[in-house]
Amino acid sequence: MTTASAPVTHRPTEPPRGGPAVATVPSRASFWAATRLVAGREITVRLRDRTFLFSTVFFLLLAVGATVLPALLGGGGSTVAVVATDVTAPLEQAGLTVVPAGDTGQAERLVRDGTVNAAVVPADVPGGVRIIALDHAPDDLVTALSTAPPVDLLDPDGISPVLALLVPMFFGIVFFVSSLAFGVQIAQSVTEEKQTRIVEILVTAVPVRALLAGKVLGNGALALVQVAMLGLVSVVSLRLVDSGPLLDLLAPAIGWFVPFFVVGFALLASLWAVAGALVSRQEDISGASMPVQMLVMLPFFAVVFLHDKPVVMTVLSYVPFSAPTAMPLRLFAGEAAGWEPILALLLLLGAAALFVALAARLYEGALLRTNGRVSLRAAWRGREIRPARR
């Protein structure tokens, strides 16, 4: 151990020792500086958390899998043995691999031993062909050899029923998982500070609201980055396997999903912080956060199960807690007029401002009460215990 020579103390601004302290009004700048520091710590801690990293990677792989796998499984043209050579061209056009065979007997052997999926051989009718397959009729081959009547689509951009089910699930799941996972983290982080009593040091250093804002913003930024990565990976892998109209259809929905996500997340995050501030032990969080969990789950299930009821969806797309999921969905389905997302977003903003203000007061009122569970009423009345703000 080295001996400290001539201990030096460092002060940012040196007031005269023992003289009157310079009392400055806490500026906006110091509030935001504190908020940034708190947010920075939240992010650092989260980025070191293995569970968080693994779950992020897991979701990204899931997104890749969900977009790429169906294409891989659905594609992969069959191999066809062909005796009648004049059908080779249309078959190859349809993406099938053609293997020439000498006669019908050889073609049949190739089908039997699995070298090819099916064979096209001359039929008894002159000029006609017959298909030989093992246990089921090869649809792609039949389609390639059929003459289809021309089809005029009146709504060429219409969405397949499968997509109509998958897309609401996607927006719903992303918002649901994000606000739940990050919400629980926020609550745990608040309770940890209460449990370890470091909160008593923190509030002597920074305004209570800077603590709250830092937590919401730090976790919000991480959530947004996570969702953006998820979106990017999905879009890129979708592009790789499918150049259809899906992306163009999704674009406005995704574009609107971002602001709805941000505001909706902030609303819920501040409520999660209150839930964390009401209790003094990690074990009590799940009980205290039950109402917030409901606010996350009920809209999710409502949107997933009622997405084909236009009237219900219209209502849900304006209700603040379900709007982040329901409005992008209506945009995707082409059911919402251009002004509707703007109105819904304004409503959501208003609700968020109201709830964040209420949450900030409850958070302040509850944060320093470390004797067990704090009731909402006590937190609301918490002024007497609140640190004096001047």
């Binding site: 030096v8 002060r11 020792r17 009157p20 909160v199 040091i201 640190p387």
Partner: protein, 294 residues
């Protein structure tokens, strides 16, 4: 100068602080002693603004305490609190920056402090992996990280081994020598006795005694003496104005009705033979504490 003036506070109809007034002077280590529940922690929380007083006020250099002023106080809460899963240096730098230090200044202060409290080698360990004693050293460092102008430490020495007590006492003494008022509570009266310059004694929510340690000792000292001679000291009991407290062969402890009589007793002893020891007995803090809190 920190001044607490006529502060009262009631919890659920129970008065925990009643008209509490005392001062913490620059450059002085002020020991805040009292039994459990006497009101030490409540007083400190009110000074830090963690709790509002029902009446009375706390001033710093004669002015009410604002957030900006409070940011320059250092506080060690009674129930220890730091992030268990953060590295020691990292979280001290974080706290320093929350207190308004720049990142380089916070790092310099933290490295210097860790050296002084003897934690340099554990700087990059997670707090939860440290022994309780070392966690407490980190906690003291957390209170000092921003070079506070006032230190409020709630039971800083409880649970520490004697070596750690000495290390921390040295660090705190340095701060006091720099002109920083230090208020520390403790129920270990022997530690307080050794470290404090001034004393504030609280019991049942009221201040029972304040003043410098030596002043209090004099104030509460009875004129009591110890005398050790070669032979049996039993003869002392026959002197006028003397009442024996303890007599054990050559050693006697006695009180005097008139303190001016001490030289008379000494002469009487010298007349009878060699005197090995003769001294006034200064009351210990424990005795003063017992007396003022009764």
């Amino acid at each position: 100068m920190l001044r607490v003036s006529a502060v009262s506070r009631t919890f659920d109809g129970r008065r925990v602080l009643d008209d509490v007034s005392f001062e913490v002077a620059p450059g002085r280590m002020t020991g805040f002693v009292g039994a459990n529940g006497a009101g030490k922690t409540t007083s400190m929380r009110i000074i830090l603004g963690l709790l509002a007083a029902d009446s009375g006020e706390v001033t710093w250099h004669g002015r009410p305490i604002t957030r900006a002023v409070r940011q320059r106080f250092g506080y060690m809460p009674e129930e220890r609190g730091l992030y268990p899963k953060m590295r020691v240096r990292e979280q001290l730098v974080y706290l320093g920056r929350l207190y308004g230090l720049s990142a380089p200044a916070a790092r310099r202060n933290v490295d210097d402090l860790l050296e002084r409290v003897g934690l340099s080698e554990r700087a990059d360990d997670l707090l939860e992996t440290l022994s309780l004693g070392n966690q407490q050293r980190a906690q003291v460092a957390a209170a000092l990280v921003h070079d506070p102008e006032l230190l409020i430490l709630d039971e800083p020495f409880s649970g520490l081994d004697p070596i750690a007590v000495d290390t921390l006492a040295t660090v705190l003494r340095e701060r006091a020598a720099d002109g920083v008022p230090v208020l520390f509570s403790s129920h270990q009266l022997d530690v307080v006795e050794r470290l404090c310059d001034d004393l504030v004694v609280i019991a049942g929510g009221t201040i029972r005694a304040t003043g410098s340690r030596d002043e209090l000792r004099t104030r509460y000292a009875e004129p009591r003496y110890e005398l050790v001679v070669d032979g049996d000291a039993g003869w002392v009991r026959d002197l006028p104005g003397v009442s024996i407290v303890d007599l054990d062969g050559p050693r006697v402890v006695f009180d005097l009705a008139d303190p001016a009589d001490d030289q008379r007793v000494l002469r009487a002893a010298l007349d009878r033979g060699p005197v090995r020891a003769f001294a006034p007995i200064v009351p210990s803090l424990t005795e003063i504490f017992r007396e003022v809190t009764q």
